[in-house]
Structure formats: C-alpha cells, structure tokens
C-alpha cells in the first residue's frame, strides 16, 4: 500500500496536469475536461480555506488555554470570529450589519495599519543615514526623494516638470526593468517547476 499510493498520486497529478495543459492547445477536444478539473481544483482550494480557518481557531483556542501574554489577543480573535460568523450568517454577506462590521472595523483597521506603515517608513528613512552611512544608503535615499518629489506637487511650490519627468523615467525604466527581470526569472522557474511536476520528478504531493 505504501508503494501503490505514491504511484497513484503521481499518476493523477501527471494526467490532470497534462489534460489542463493540452486543453489550451485543443480546447474543442479537452476543453470540457479541463473545465471540470479546474472546477474541482477551485472546490479544493475553497475547502483549504475552510481548513485554514479551522486551524486558526484551534491554534488560538490552545493559546487561550495557556497562560501566555498573547492569550487576550487570542480571545479577542475568537470572539470576533464567532460574532462575525453569526452576524453574517443571519444578515447575509451583503447585509446591512455585515457591511457595517466591514466598513466600521476592518477597513479602518487596515487603513490605520498602512498609515502606521507610512509613518514607520518615513521615520526609518530619516534615521537610515545615521545607522548605516554607506554609499548605497545615500543612493537609496536620493531615489526615494526623487520619487516623492515627482509623485505629487510640492506644497507652496507646485509641480516641477523636471522632477516629474525624472520620476516618470525612474518608475518606467529602471524600476520596470528590474521588475521585469524578476518576473522573467519567476516565469522561467514556474515553467521549469511545472514541467518537473508533469514529468513526475517533483512530487509535492508526496511519494
């Protein structure tokens, strides 16, 4: 049995991947099977999300039972989860109470986190030269200042066309070039990984 299961898993993975891949080349012949397999994968992904939520509840339930300092946070999380599930189940996903919870709690909380992030980034940039006075630190700070200067018109100064052009060039040439290089590398790696899984060399499902 220990030998049969890995072989079965490998066979399922190889056949499914091959059908989905060939479905792009032969949509008329394999399009239906491809859609069915994708539907199954989407259901499995949704079920994985439920498992993640269940795991989150279990982890924090154990923390509540302990005497750690973070137990109060776990209690808040569990209470919020239960209340939200109850309210959304009753009111519906698009109900008034459900949207009120979302707009009054989740959205301000996430916006506050990003605002704190902006504040931390400014503070760190101001101290960066003090902590690490290196040439690349200076280069990083100069680039940040140029992007900021070109992203919005300076108060009491207005928009400086030279700075806007320089910002546009920085964003569209060096930044995009580096990002595209990263994406190309990621794409090649994805192709190689997909082929290895299709061939059966890599078996992330075990076996």
């Amino acid at each position: 049995m220990k030998k049969i299961l890995p072989l079965t898993n490998a066979a399922i993975a190889i056949v499914s991947g091959s059908i989905v891949l060939l479905g792009y080349f032969f949509p008329g012949l394999l399009g239906g099977i491809q859609s069915t397999l994708l539907g199954w994968a989407i259901i499995l992904a949704g079920f994985a999300l439920l498992l993640g939520i269940f795991n989150l509840v279990m982890v924090h339930w154990k923390k509540v039972g302990g005497e750690g300092k973070g137990s109060i946070n776990s209690i808040v999380l569990l209470v919020s989860l239960v209340l939200t599930m109850i309210i959304v189940s009753i009111s519906g996903p698009a109900g008034t109470f459900s949207l009120w919870i979302f707009n009054s709690i989740q959205v301000p909380a996430e916006i506050s986190l990003l605002a704190v992030l902006a504040f931390v980034l400014v503070y760190a940039a101001a101290r960066l030269l003090t902590r690490s006075p290196k040439w690349y630190t200076v280069l990083f700070l100069v680039t940040v200042l140029l992007i900021l200067l070109g992203s919005a018109p300076l108060f009491f100064v207005g928009e400086v066309s030279l700075l806007s052009s320089l910002r546009s060039w920085l964003m569209h040439v060096p930044a995009v070039a580096g990002a595209r290089g990263l994406l190309l590398g990621v794409a090649l790696g994805t192709v190689a990984t997909g082929l290895r899984i299709l061939i059966g060399i890599d078996r992330p499902y075990g076996g």
Binding site: Q106, L149, S151, L154
Partner: protein, 649 residues
Amino acid sequence: MTDIICPLCGKPNPPDLDECKYCQAPLKTGGFIAPPEGGDELDKLISPSGESGEPGEQEAVASTPPNLEQSVPDWLKQTEANFLDQSETTPSKSEPEEPGPDQISGQIDSLINQPPAHPAGQDNVIDDDWLASLLSEAGVNEPAQSGTPEKSAREPVEEPAQAPAEEQSQEEFPEKAGTSAEEPSEEEQATPALPVEKPAWLTSLEAASKIKMEGVVPPAEVHPEQPFVEEAAENAEEQPPEPPDWLKISAVEESTSTPPSQEAEPQISPAELPGWLEALRPSEAVAPTGPVEDVSNADIVTAGPLVGLRGVISTHPSAIRARKPPTYSIKLRVTDEQKARVEMMEELLAGEDKPTPLPTQPIITSRYIFRIIVAVSLLLPILWMIISGRQDAALPQTGNIPGVVNFTQEIQKLPTGAAVLVAFDYEAGFSGELNVAINSVITQLMNKNVYLALVATNPSGPALGESTITNVYSGLVGNTTTYNFYTNLGYIPGGVMGLSGLATSPRSVVPYSLTSDNVWAGAPLDAITSIEDFNAVIVLTNDSDTARNWVEQVGPRLRQANKPLLFVSSSQAEPLILPYYQATPSQVQGLIGGLAGGVAYSRSVGNFQQNGVWDAYSIGVTVSILIIIIGSVAGGVMKSIPTDKKKEK
C-alpha cells in the same frame, strides 16, 4: 630430620620454614640442605655419584680413607681448624670467639688469589664429584668441566698433586666456598653466650680432618687407581650418558697435544728498541700500578655472600631501610602579575553567577522625541487640510498620466445596459488611495446604466464591492433607493486556477450570487457563457501579481474578442502594470494608477470632489521629504561629531 642451611647466614633451619628464622632470608631458593646426623650424609658428599645408599659404594669409601681426606679442600680444612680452635677457647667470654672479619677476609682473599687451575686437576675425581654433589644439592649449576667418573677413568690419576686439585675446585667455586665457610652474622654475634652447635656435616668433616692430622693415610701413599677404576666401571654401567664425540675428540687432542710434563720454555730475550721508541715508552715510575682505593678504614661485610670483604656495599637488611619520602611543597610559585591575573579571573567567575541588571532606559529619549516630532509633523498638516477642505495644490493633468485617457475612452465606448465584470481585488487598507478612482468609475458606469457583475479573488473583495456600490449609489444626487442593476458573484477561490476557470466557464465557477440567486438564468447574464462575452473587464487591485494573473489568464480571451481589460491600481502596482499598457499590441487597454490617476480621471469625467484629499496628499509628501532630508543631515552631522564613546573606541 634434614635441616636447610640458610644461604645468607649459614644457620640451619627446619625444613618446614620458607624463610630463615634468623635473618628471614628465603630458604627454598638457595638454601643448603644440611646433612643429617650420621655417616650417610658424609658418604653422600664423598660419593661421586651421589648414591650413598649402595653397600658396594660404602665399602669402597670405607676402604679408601685417604679419598675422604683428599676430598676436603684446604680452605675448608683451615676453616675447620679455626672453628675447632675457637670451640676450645674458654667459655668465660660473653661471646664466642669466632674468626674475625679480617681473618675471614684473608681466607676469601686466599681463595680468590689462587693460582690458575692445573691442567691435570681434572683428574681429581673425588674433589670434583664432591663439589658437584654439593652444588647439585645446593641447586647450583654444575660446571661443565667438572670431572666425571668416566673421564677420570679414562685419564687415570697420574699426579698425586692433591693441592692443585683442591685449588682448582676452590677456583671454580669461590662463591660456594665462601658460602660454606661463611661466618655467623652480626645477629648471631650479638647473641650472648650461646653454645656453638656444629652441624652434622661439619662434624663429619672434622672427623676426616682428624684422620688426616693423625697421618693414618698419607696422601702420597694413596693408590687411587684401582678404586677409581672399579668405581668408573660401576658408574659406566649406571651412568649411560656419554660425552659427545666432539668432546671426546677435543679431550684426545688435548691429551695428545699436552706435553707429558711442563718443559721450561726458552726465555724470550728482550728486543732492542730504538732510542726514540724507548723514549715513547711510558715510565713505570709515573704510574706503576692503577690507583688503589684505600679501604683499610671501610666497614667489613659481616653477612651475606660478600661476608668478609671490606669496602663493599653491605647487603645487610639494615642497609635497606624505609625512608620517609621527601616532601615537596605544593605551594605554587607565582609572580605578582600572575597573582593579579588570577584575582581578575576569580572576579570574572564570581561575576558570572550574579545576574547583570539591565540598564534602565529612560522613558523619554532622543529617539522617542524624534518619533513624536515625525508623527506630529505628518498628522497636523494632513488633518488641517482635510478639515479645512482647501484646494491649494495644483491638480494633476489627465494628459500627464498614462492610461487615464484610454481608460476614459473605453468606459465611454460601453453601450447602455452592457454587462461589465468588475473585480474587487484590493485590500481594504488601500481604499483611501483607490476609492477616488473607483468611485468615479462606478459612478460613470452607473450613469451609463451598465450591468455590473462583481467578483473577487480576495476574501474581502465581495464586501468591498458591495460597500462601494452602496456608497456610490447613495452618493449620487437624488437616489434614495438601492441600486439593483448589478450582481455580486462573490469570492473565487483558487487564485490562478479560479481565474482560469472563470475565463473558460464562469457559470460553473460562480453559479450563484451572494444572495444565492441564479443570476445566469436572467438578463443580461443569460447571454454570457464565457469571459469574453462581457463588454469589459475592470480590475481593481493594489497587487502587481494579481494584475499579472488577470492579464495572463483572462487577457488572451478578451483580446481575441476585442474586449477591453482595464485596470485601476495603486501607485505601488502601477509601474508593473504600465508595461502591459504600453506594449504593442497592448494587453491592458486602460490604466488608472494611484491617487494622482484617480484625481486626473475624476477631473476628466467631472466627478472630482473638493474634499481636501489632494492637498493633504501633497502636504504629506512634502513633509515627508523634509523629514527625511532633515533627519539624514542631522544624522550625518551627529555621526561625524566625535563623542566620548568614539574616542574610547
């Protein structure tokens, strides 16, 4: 009863003892077995074969009394005579008179300084056998050259020279002679007035010496040929082992080569040396002899095998004394510097056990003050701008921001009542940045009476979409009812797979709306079977990866159907989406990036609201730039100023 003679002190001991009861020397290894009282033991000593029990041999011994006397060596006779002289002394002395150490030493010297053995000494069969038997009993290896009866028979005694034979025996066994003539030890000398007991074997020897002294049988008249021949014949029968051939041959050669008598060899005349060689000769007057140590005042050994010798190491047990082992001081010799280092090490080790208190940080530090300054500098201008609602900063122009114009044109191209798929794939935290553009786009779509199908690959997307539709529609002037010309298809799990499934068969991926309605059965979605049936797809995202997934999974189908794929993104995702827009042919037909793009699009569609957001953003960016510049300069200056810590380092 046979006693064992101690090899060290010479006293008899009972046979059951392992050590001498006088000197505690081991007896089993080297002790002599004292002859029992009677003539048997004497016969054994005299007998060449050692078999004294045979009657024939006894008769031979009795018939030849001169042999007995011949068998006694001179040194033994001298010792015996001294012993007898001492025993005849008066007993009034507290200690018995014994031969003094000088006398014993003289005897041993006489034994040592014997002249070389006479070649014919081998013929003295009786002496050799006597010694052989004595040594065999004492456990000493018999010398190979001692005369055997066979040899004595083959070489009849031609010389009556008994003295040389005795001298030979003494020369061959000086130690044994010394041992047999050993004097009492010091302990014995210290014993007060004890009568001297003569051992039995010594008594027998005494009798033999008396016979000699009486001159019953002078040695010159002895005819040893016959008894020796007879004895040799008997021994030839009883002792089958014969000497090897080589020994016989050598014996014959020796007998033939040896002249019958020692003829005087001619004197070698001294050579005449040349003068120069004569001068080189060492002068005898300079060093006639070797250096001689003066041992006249040294102690004389009174016990052990070296008894009587002067100036040698004493083997007395008292010489081996247990001494107290030397004591060495265990105190280390260390220098002052080493002591200082040891003390320092001890202090360090003692400090390891004590917990080091953490330095208490003051509540208000320079870093804390700097944080407060940064927070106040950022918050106060932004709050002031939002509260006042001023519009002082210049608004961004539509033509300066790529993608906004095309986006506006694509929206305007949409027919009334068309179905548009809107994907809410951004985080709620980016609502403040994206809502300016999103509200304008949704308002524009509502104004064109477009049917909105909302989907999301982000779990919070459905709520964001629902909230946005509600807020936008409620913000429109004159709308008091809810907006119903849309459907929220909800969340699509699976990421890329979900998008791929949505592109190929949206009905199977999201068959129901959030309200559990089968929206695919009614208008206008009943005419939609795939993604390209929508009139446009608008993606609202803050993540470049999400945008890439939409471009890769959905974009090809839309391009085949010539349907637009439009993006509303945050400022951080804009640079990565912009190449898709700038590509030829473009994979993204319209793009609104960041707050600036949203403001520009709002101004282009006439939906911009003067709420101070743009001024707040402008002053926030300006303050941030100033903080970074001031902080960097101050930090650099402080870094360059030498402080006490830097000086210490």
